[in-house]
Symmetry: D3
Subunit: 314 residues, 6 copies
Amino acid sequence: YSDVVTMGETMALMKAATPGPLAHAGSLELGMGGAETNFAIALKRLGTSVTWLGRVGQDSLGDLVLREVAAEGITTLGIRDAGAPTGLMIKERRTLEHLKVWYYRSGSAGSRLAPEDVPVETIRNAKLLHLTGITPGLSGSAYEAALNAVNVAREAGVRVSFDLNYRAALWTEEDAGPVFRRFIELATIVFAGDDEARIAVGHGADSFELAHKIAAMGPRQVIIKNGPLGCAAVIDGVELRQEAVRINAVDTVGAGDAFVAGYISDLLAGAPAEERLRTAVRTGAFACLVPGDWEGMPRRHELGLLDASEPVTR
Amino acid sequence: YSDVVTMGETMALMKAATPGPLAHAGSLELGMGGAETNFAIALKRLGTSVTWLGRVGQDSLGDLVLREVAAEGITTLGIRDAGAPTGLMIKERRTLEHLKVWYYRSGSAGSRLAPEDVPVETIRNAKLLHLTGITPGLSGSAYEAALNAVNVAREAGVRVSFDLNYRAALWTEEDAGPVFRRFIELATIVFAGDDEARIAVGHGADSFELAHKIAAMGPRQVIIKNGPLGCAAVIDGVELRQEAVRINAVDTVGAGDAFVAGYISDLLAGAPAEERLRTAVRTGAFACLVPGDWEGMPRRHELGLLDASEPVTR
Amino acid sequence: YSDVVTMGETMALMKAATPGPLAHAGSLELGMGGAETNFAIALKRLGTSVTWLGRVGQDSLGDLVLREVAAEGITTLGIRDAGAPTGLMIKERRTLEHLKVWYYRSGSAGSRLAPEDVPVETIRNAKLLHLTGITPGLSGSAYEAALNAVNVAREAGVRVSFDLNYRAALWTEEDAGPVFRRFIELATIVFAGDDEARIAVGHGADSFELAHKIAAMGPRQVIIKNGPLGCAAVIDGVELRQEAVRINAVDTVGAGDAFVAGYISDLLAGAPAEERLRTAVRTGAFACLVPGDWEGMPRRHELGLLDASEPVTR
Amino acid sequence: YSDVVTMGETMALMKAATPGPLAHAGSLELGMGGAETNFAIALKRLGTSVTWLGRVGQDSLGDLVLREVAAEGITTLGIRDAGAPTGLMIKERRTLEHLKVWYYRSGSAGSRLAPEDVPVETIRNAKLLHLTGITPGLSGSAYEAALNAVNVAREAGVRVSFDLNYRAALWTEEDAGPVFRRFIELATIVFAGDDEARIAVGHGADSFELAHKIAAMGPRQVIIKNGPLGCAAVIDGVELRQEAVRINAVDTVGAGDAFVAGYISDLLAGAPAEERLRTAVRTGAFACLVPGDWEGMPRRHELGLLDASEPVTR
Amino acid sequence: YSDVVTMGETMALMKAATPGPLAHAGSLELGMGGAETNFAIALKRLGTSVTWLGRVGQDSLGDLVLREVAAEGITTLGIRDAGAPTGLMIKERRTLEHLKVWYYRSGSAGSRLAPEDVPVETIRNAKLLHLTGITPGLSGSAYEAALNAVNVAREAGVRVSFDLNYRAALWTEEDAGPVFRRFIELATIVFAGDDEARIAVGHGADSFELAHKIAAMGPRQVIIKNGPLGCAAVIDGVELRQEAVRINAVDTVGAGDAFVAGYISDLLAGAPAEERLRTAVRTGAFACLVPGDWEGMPRRHELGLLDASEPVTR
Amino acid sequence: YSDVVTMGETMALMKAATPGPLAHAGSLELGMGGAETNFAIALKRLGTSVTWLGRVGQDSLGDLVLREVAAEGITTLGIRDAGAPTGLMIKERRTLEHLKVWYYRSGSAGSRLAPEDVPVETIRNAKLLHLTGITPGLSGSAYEAALNAVNVAREAGVRVSFDLNYRAALWTEEDAGPVFRRFIELATIVFAGDDEARIAVGHGADSFELAHKIAAMGPRQVIIKNGPLGCAAVIDGVELRQEAVRINAVDTVGAGDAFVAGYISDLLAGAPAEERLRTAVRTGAFACLVPGDWEGMPRRHELGLLDASEPVTR
Ligand SMILES: Nc1ncnc2c1ncn2[C@@H]1O[C@H](COP(=O)(O)OP(=O)(O)O)[C@@H](O)[C@H]1O
Ligand SMILES: Nc1ncnc2c1ncn2[C@@H]1O[C@H](COP(=O)(O)OP(=O)(O)O)[C@@H](O)[C@H]1O
Ligand SMILES: Nc1ncnc2c1ncn2[C@@H]1O[C@H](COP(=O)(O)OP(=O)(O)O)[C@@H](O)[C@H]1O
Ligand SMILES: Nc1ncnc2c1ncn2[C@@H]1O[C@H](COP(=O)(O)OP(=O)(O)O)[C@@H](O)[C@H]1O
Ligand SMILES: Nc1ncnc2c1ncn2[C@@H]1O[C@H](COP(=O)(O)OP(=O)(O)O)[C@@H](O)[C@H]1O
Ligand SMILES: Nc1ncnc2c1ncn2[C@@H]1O[C@H](COP(=O)(O)OP(=O)(O)O)[C@@H](O)[C@H]1O
């Protein structure tokens, strides 16, 4: 049994190598991605064992997704769904500074996650269950599956971590708000950006106010991550702030997942809150230094490269 | 106004450059394809003016589809559908000798073609309307659109050509059969492979028997195309046979569309039936000599390359 | 008939994907380019209809050029010249910061543009004719063609816009100067950089002085564009200045053409001068954010991306 | 515990995409390969569970090797050896018809396999241990490791399969001969080509004579595989012959490993000898239809593609 | 001083990696080529020292040409011509079976070769001067240069070899004929294809008759090469015939140059005529087994690969 | 005879095109590199004749190395060593900001350089011998070879230049220190970074103190290069400082070699010390503007691009 369990939709991912409209891209790089597996990969590389569960189609892109997750040493509970194709996302770097993601995921295998898929025993034997706000937005059954998993965890005394991760392509802020609140109430640890926090709890003067509002709903650990501005947290009632590492980011997608993995890995290793946040901003920053949603996730011993003075090791 | 009008779904098309499972393809070539635009491109390159109508999404892959069709000098009636994405197909060359196509087209913009989209005036002023059996299989409204177009054409005395083009990913043979028969009855010219003909008219001892059975339903010109075996036809009651050109095929996808274009282009130019078939097998063969569904379609003056003795022109 | 007509040489364009001497580039990306089609593409994407006329060879690179122009929805009057090849340019990015363009255009089809090619009726029915200072530098007959077009426009009361666009590979400043002045005298709107303006009108203390000198020769609208420094204009005698948008430019080639298109598109839409310049610096800046001379040109609804706070849309 | 255990050196593998001298290859495709993992992958795809053990360096190419093996669902006992680098092989396709492999494996981590690495419990609980003649040729300790594994298996009553796999880059035929004989005596099942069999048992008039000579040394199942000529076997004293499948081979590397996997998978499933050989030539042939040593290995349900009449599935 | 001297135009060479119209090629491979350097490279690899002289522009493609020639160990007398660009050729593989070469060489640096460029001392000290019929077709001065070189050689008693190499893009058969005859009269050794021989000496029933007609004009060694049909020769009055090696050709461009190099290398090594022809068909065949005009040229020790039974060396 | 002679190991070099772990790189670019040939290439491009000597294997990567060195117009004394493979290095750009080099060079052909390889006559006739601290670290015989070369030079009154170039993958600082001191004592000119200088002479407050300590051991010219901080030198007892050029570096590997070449080229041309350093920082900076260890090295006339105001030349 792994220390951490996570669950969600992971899709094939295509993207052009250089910026510009898709219509001028002669070819696309093919890979896979999903917030939960990004997180799981970062977590595993940091040294924490992890299980991922999700549905993919009975198709070649499903093979691709499961191969890559297994390649990372993650216990892979991949359910093959013969009734629907593996979801797809296409990343268009319209300009050097702006990315657009196109989804082919409505009705996908991944969105057909259902309550009966939940790996009950695995969750009961884990130390933490991690979910994102994407899963309840995928479909009714996925919503039920997420809820089911949380309930299994709570009953077994397993901590629940929840990253809001709002996706405008899936639902409106109005639809997402109540669902986010439902999961926040059941979670032990909550992660959100300023904007996402607002969807859940409405206006807040700053990150701390938003964190306090969320904490007031139940979670003892609330962390607000704000990209290059770093993060603010309310942990056991205490306000903490951690600056971001100064870097030249090349690809910020996946930084949030890396951040959460850094925090959770340290938490399970028993590190104090300040250290958890310090690790989190470092894994988040590291992820920004390599193109790709998850390929560049750091192994623990690599985090030191952020401080290296010499750019070449030989 | 163009001489020929066609209508159907054209999708983005991704494929790996080398054979093998998709899961091992690091990148995919990006293009577009669709039986009707393959046909239209071949037709235009042979010198016949043509209009294509179809729906694509309000997305970047829709831009790609419309750019490429327009690039070929085809009058492009591209309807942007904000309510659905542009369809997608992924070609996996599992082995050197076997190709598998994965579709992301259910609920696509292209499948939402509707009777009111039909370009009535353009059809009335054309010499020929060309449809494939794919369109009525896409959706109820697409079926109605195809029927509507045919009726407009018939009322205006415009010839109707119909290529059965059965797609197992869209519907069963049982569902397709009656629909094929419906369109055959309304068509002037029908194209089919042996297997497709059987879906429509049941068993037949050979291609000629199948062709006669189809001709008995109305069409005066019935052409059965059988890949490297060439074709058999019943035209105005006369049986005609034409051998295929001997070539080393590298990609047979699109050969059928090239064949139909060769036939139709010559028909509109007033060539006799034997010549039409001879041109058809030549354009079909030519299309097999270049990778890609339509990129290699011959211009009329290039057909002579099939007979060239010297492999290099300089 | 289109609102705008333009005319000039468009060539095949080859360039290496990464910086370094050409001698170490194993491959070159193949595309096409030319100041007038860059402009036409930008204009069309902004919503203004446009016709382009030019000569290409009866060769495959000519096919390439005409395909791409047509792909953009531009009315393409492509004259196939069997007597000369399509011109060629090769872009060598010698270092990250310096680009060298090698031309194979002397005696090219494009340079053989002749007075009788001028699309007289199309110009008479347009709202504006746009030319660059490249065309009169190509050959004697191209010079005559440009002059002919301008005269047709003036007689029909169609506005003439002229972008100096000095090319040192074509002619010396001494040869270009008198020709620039000839066209300035006939133009309604003139675009130039500081250096180019000096070729035409000699020394000037600053951009405004140069603009006034040009305006004194006839044109009521003179715009001096100066890269990251933005632009200065004298429009109907009024001095206007517009700062550039702050961006990280990746490829500045084509920015000038985008700028001109922004200005002209707004002009034809009836926008006031300040707004025209504001749009111009935005389209110019946008073009710098994508590699390629024209592929990244913005559609009008995309201009807002310049102000986007979130780097990812999903 | 898996049904099959195998052990050996797997290396990073580089190869040019097109034929020609390496000195003209601007880039190399990067992957991994090794006879035992090729076999394990084929076996797993056919439905038989398998464990692989081997050493790789504490380096990035070691990460690559272990990732890919794990990706295939193989239980991966990857020992990280901090004292030596992961081995490397470079495939040069000198001409379309001739391949040359360059090795960087002397002193590699993989060659440092040692007797104490042997996964004793895993072998004891398996149904079959598979080794190749490469391992004893790597180093003295690797020889001991192979011997140790065989002894563990024999003591536990686990069948031992041995594929001679002579590599001229590792040792001379004189050195390999006695070692091959040592392992043949201990094996239950032996695979070899005609030439390899001769290294072990000297001259033989044909494949059957060679097989009988080997069988006389102990193994009850001896299979001689001879590329496009198919195979000959002496199984429980009975001579069997199986023709190869007729195909256009694109890459024969890995065919032997696929063949062995087909045979072993069927053996463990209880199939009779004739069927085992029939499956073996089919998996061998399938492997030849895709470039790459192992990427194209068939899943069991895909074997039918060898008989498919239609080249496209859609 | 080298044993052989050759002289001619070598150009940059671009070609698409896969078959299809250039207009659909997103990128082109960049290299260089020219009949005389193809020959020189083949010759050097076979072990004969050689000097090449030619003009290139003062540009980056000129750097490329000279780098590659020097890389092969050829004494490179590269004249940089500041007044003209390096010539260019673009190879379009229109279909798998037909290649079209587009030239940008009129007025190129290479075509400006002049009599005063001829390396008089180098020729005087060589054993053989090799020219092709391309050079006299480039320009008047190139014609004079070729003639000058031949005269220098003859006066010094240096053998002259001449390969007709007719290029339809340079001149008509009518123009080439007399020039070919002029050079044949001055040559010791002549190479031609059947068609080329006919341009020079008119009709001939077969290769032997053509060879005799040429021999009657002076040359003691006349070799007619006919692709896969092998060659026929009249050497010192004796008729000799040599079959081609049976191979699957992937790129026949450069085969003729390889053939000539094989013949000349053996001639200078003192081999008898039969052996010269045997080597020639082997080097010619070898060149067909690798894509690229010259990259695959064999080293002498590699010729044995043509007879290898095992497709993999390891 | 060349003005400069250098000697050392040059290896094949592989690197991924984009940042990220090697395990996710589908392909690697293939080239070659080595400090001494980087230097020789830079030197030759600046106009100084140079000879390089080194060993490579009797293999295809050895061909590659020798081809590229010869391509640059360097007199190439390449010894083919049949007993060992050509060395290999793999560059992994782990993040945008950190590079890791993996070596396959232990026991390589290049490391088997031996005293008898030293090109005695060539050194005696040169003006300068250049060595790096890598060579004595390769093996005992390479150490002896380096020493031998230095002695030959000293006896003939040929200046000796020595660049410390510490490589942690080859030896420890403790082992390197005494060797560095041995060579410093014999050298006329010494180049080092601050860190490298410390390995040789222990602590120093700043670059000047380190330079004085080295100068005290014999060399009259000591130059300390410190990346973007520029350099400090003690030349004939005089302290000199030169700032680096302000650039956006894309690849700093090879900058040190370019710097040394700039200095040496100017020295041999008789330029004063200040000018030598100014050229050195310019060639060093230029090398940083192009990816690749040596491909971007400037020709002398290109140095002006560092000051160009216009980013495009056409
Ligand atoms: N540009 C950046 N520079 C430095 N650190 C960054 C940058 N972008 C993200 N990070 C780190 O990653 C964390 C998560 O990134 P963020 O963008 O807030 O997450 P999300 O991807 O969920 O929106 C940030 O809190 C910060 O620590
Ligand atoms: N391998 C081939 N060799 C020669 N001609 C071919 C080959 N494949 C297809 N063609 C030509 O193209 C025509 C249409 O191909 P076919 O495969 O029958 O169509 P479809 O793509 O509709 O199945 C054939 O009738 C034949 O003339
Ligand atoms: N680096 C830049 N940053 C922001 N805007 C730019 C930049 N370069 C160009 N532009 C915009 O594009 C316009 C045209 O660019 P410019 O370089 O002046 O034209 P040209 O290509 O004709 O030389 C400028 O006026 C400016 O608005
Ligand atoms: N060209 C081919 N055509 C058909 N089958 C082949 C071909 N090459 C190999 N095979 C199949 O794979 C099996 C193993 O190939 P072989 O070359 O004998 O093995 P190895 O790779 O060990 O030398 C053969 O027995 C045959 O069944
Ligand atoms: N397809 C082929 N198969 C075998 N050998 C070939 C083939 N093509 C060329 N060769 C060999 O190369 C020689 C020269 O080729 P050929 O095509 O006649 O020359 P050229 O390139 O000058 O036209 C031939 O005589 C033959 O020996
Ligand atoms: N980032 C940079 N910006 C400007 N110049 C640089 C840069 N990096 C290196 N250089 C120039 O190249 C020289 C050598 O670089 P350095 O890194 O010191 O050498 P090495 O490669 O031997 O470590 C420096 O002295 C400097 O002049």
